[in-house]
Amino acid sequence: MSENFLFQAFSASAILAAVIMVTRKNPVTAVIFLVVVFFSVSGMFLMLDAHYVAAINVILYGGAIMVLFLFVIMLLNLGHTKQKDLKGPMGGLVGGTIAVAFLGTLTQFFIGGSEFEGMSRQGDVQLPLGLEQQGVIAPIARPLFTDYIIVLEVTGILLLTAIVGAIFLTKKRSV
């Protein structure tokens, strides 16, 4: 199984899960499929040697943000529609196939890690210069704090604005 195949498998599962996600009527199911999308995208990042981005993607999006989504949906009591989304034979089949394919490829990737390591250097993908020496975080961190420091600062202001806005729109009325 070549690395190219894995990449395409991850792409296919990401697209499929995304399509399923937007066609679901039950929000909880939709969120679960969104998690599948995030995991597939993380898999693609892994294949591109962007391990750090892959890990962050799983932790932040797959973990934190999705949990928040689920909380909100359950608090708003949206998950109790009588839609049979995954219970039909087609749904089960598609969902099961994707889950098995995804878990299978991912397990294989992690178990057979040493096997892929040699292969990833042979493909068309050109590693950024010095990736071997610096590891995977420095090529992200260095431009972030040198060339793109202004973008980082403006993002800080953006987050501050978002916090102020969120607090303002949700706080109890004082008058």
Binding site: I150, V151, L158, T161, F168, L169
Partner: protein, 540 residues
């Protein structure tokens, strides 16, 4: 002339001085709200305190940012830097900051009347302004996106400022959803452009596109298309305008004024810079799309506006139509068209803020009286307000001798010079159609009498009176003597960072005190001929 090479972080601080000043003012307001306000709350009725501290901080902050922008006009930077330092940015800053200054001054009475939280309003307005300035200064697509988001998020919240009014909340949510959708398009476009060119830096991408065989690349075409869609939502061009009337109507009117001028102007200037300056070498890529956008955006809203009975809604459609006129300047893809767009944006900002200010003053407590029927007899009840509104409406319609008229003439001239005859004809015809709905308000004000039980709108405060009065005067004055402003617009456009093949040599040129990366003689000859062709405009 000082040169920034961004070797040290201090250069960034200086090159972004207006943005830094505005951010610090906003943070100061937030800090004061958190720690100081509590002491005095309850003992003094702060709501009626017209010159609130937040208001003063905002005014001083914007004024300081204006001065900083002026100071920046003497600076220069390499063409491939992250931040633009050119006349174009300075002119854009002046339009945006000037518009915000008008909004803040005029909104003061409104905030007091509607008992809205002043600290949040001013802080968020300043943050939105920072986003706008970053957007027009960005020379990198990532920075451009972050600036756009900063502006958008602040304005989403401002739209929902009146929390006990369901119209305001509805408008906020609508704007947020559509805006998030637009941002997704824009971001995807940026990603595709990065895929096609291998860089997010505009100057480098432009060189890559013109030099190499990336021109016919599908990624590039799709990327530019997505970029245009994303910007199309923000400047409310047809067919991406559906949200505009609802949001403009539901938002508190000062925020509507900010959206119709600042947000639209900033997105428009960024579009102008990306398309006509950076992608100016590959006009085939985007010209047809912009041409159709301009056509649709001129025709559709002008027809819909004819049937509106709410003044705010009508002005919303009018603002969409103005985006169409501005897009004509982009479609010409000439420096004359760019200068025309800048000039028209300046005119548009003043007249839109002015007319919306009158609208929210007349609307009275709770923002209720905004139907056209409510303007019956205003000409005799409040002659001052009516005359000022008359001037703004005439300028929006494009009557001589107003700034709006000169602006339209300028754009018309650019369109004809570029051979865009159909666009020019459409611009004239749709402007004629627009006369009807602008003049309908004038008719109601002067030729119909108010019903017996109608309450007369209260007299505006001193600051309000002076600001709208001066704005109206400026509109007329600039309509009579537009020469200097036209020169300014032309200078700003000719002093814009042009991506050049010889980035490294242009560094050297600038370093040795030469004026611009390009051959100065060519530049002066170019502007000379433009000025010649604008002589006809200038006799007024």
């Amino acid at each position: 002339m000082r040169f920034f090479d961004f070797a040290s972080h201090g250069h960034y601080w200086l090159a972004l001085l207006p943005e830094v000043i505005l951010s610090l003012s906003a943070v100061a307001i937030l800090m004061r709200d958190a720690f100081v306000e509590k002491v005095s709350r309850g003992s003094v009725d702060l709501v009626d305190d017209r010159a609130s501290v937040e208001y003063l901080i905002t005014m001083y902050g914007i004024a300081a940012a204006l001065i900083a922008s002026l100071w920046l006009s003497d600076m220069s930077a390499p063409t491939d830097s992250l931040i633009a330092l050119d006349g174009f940015r300075v002119a854009a800053n002046f339009i945006l900051l000037g518009g915000a200054l008008l909004v803040v001054t005029l909104a003061n009475d409104y905030l007091a009347r509607e008992r809205l939280p002043t600290a949040e309003f001013h802080a968020l307005l300043l943050f939105a302004l920072v986003g706008m300035l970053v957007l027009v200064a960005a020379r990198d697509l990532i920075l451009l996106f972050v600036g756009l988001e900063l502006m958008s998020i602040a304005v989403y919240v401002l739209t929902g400022l009146v929390r006990n009014d369901s119209r305001s909340s509805e408008a906020s949510l609508k704007y947020f959803i559509v805006g998030a959708f637009a941002s997704a398009f824009l971001l995807y476009g940026i990603a595709l452009l990065y895929g096609a060119t291998g860089t997010t830096r505009l100057a480098t991408a432009a060189v890559a596109i013109t030099n190499e065989a990336v021109g016919g690349n599908f990624l590039l075409t799709a990327g530019v298309g997505m970029l245009i869609i994303g910007f199309g939502f923000k400047i409310a061009a047809v067919p991406f305008h559906m949200w505009t009337p609802d949001v403009y109507e539901g938002a508190p009117t000062p925020v509507t004024a900010l959206m119709a001028t600042g947000v639209k102007a900033a997105a428009f200037i960024a579009l102008l810079r990306v398309l006509t300056i950076d992608l100016g070498g590959v006009t085939d890529l985007w010209r047809t799309a912009i041409w159709w956008l301009a056509m649709l955006t001129m025709i559709v809203p002008n027809l819909i506006a004819l049937t509106q009975s709410d003044v705010k809604r009508m002005l919303a459609y009018s603002s969409i139509a103005h985006a169409g006129y501005l897009l004509v300047g982009v479609a010409t893809s000439s420096s004359l068209g760019r200068a025309g767009s800048l000039f028209y944006l300046a005119a548009y900002t003043v007249m839109t803020v002015g007319s919306l200010a009158i609208v929210f003053h007349v609307a009275g407590p709770g923002d209720r009286k905004s139907r056209i029927q409510d303007y019956r007899g205003l000409g005799w009840q409040r002659p001052g307000l009516a005359v000022v509104l008359l001037i703004f409406l005439l300028s929006l319609a494009g009557f001589p001798p107003t700034m709006g008229f000169v602006g339209k003439l300028f754009l018309l001239r650019a369109a004809i010079d570029a051979g865009e005859i159909i666009l020019a004809v459409t611009l004239v015809l749709t402007s004629l159609v627009a006369y009807y709905y602008y003049l309908r308000i004038v008719w109601k004000m002067y030729f119909e009498s108010a019903p017996e039980d109608a309450e007369i709108p209260e007299a505006p405060g001193v600051a309000f009176r002076w600001t709208v009065g001066l704005s109206a005067f400026a509109i007329i004055f600039a309509g009579l003597f537009p020469g200097r402003l036209i020169d300014r617009a032309q200078d700003a456009v000719s002093d814009s960072m042009v991506p050049s093949d010889e980035i490294s040599t242009s560094h050297m040129n600038e370093f040795h005190g030469s004026d611009l990366p390009r051959d100065p003689k060519v530049v002066s000859a170019e502007t000379g001929s433009q000025r010649e062709s604008l002589r006809e405009l200038r006799w007024r």
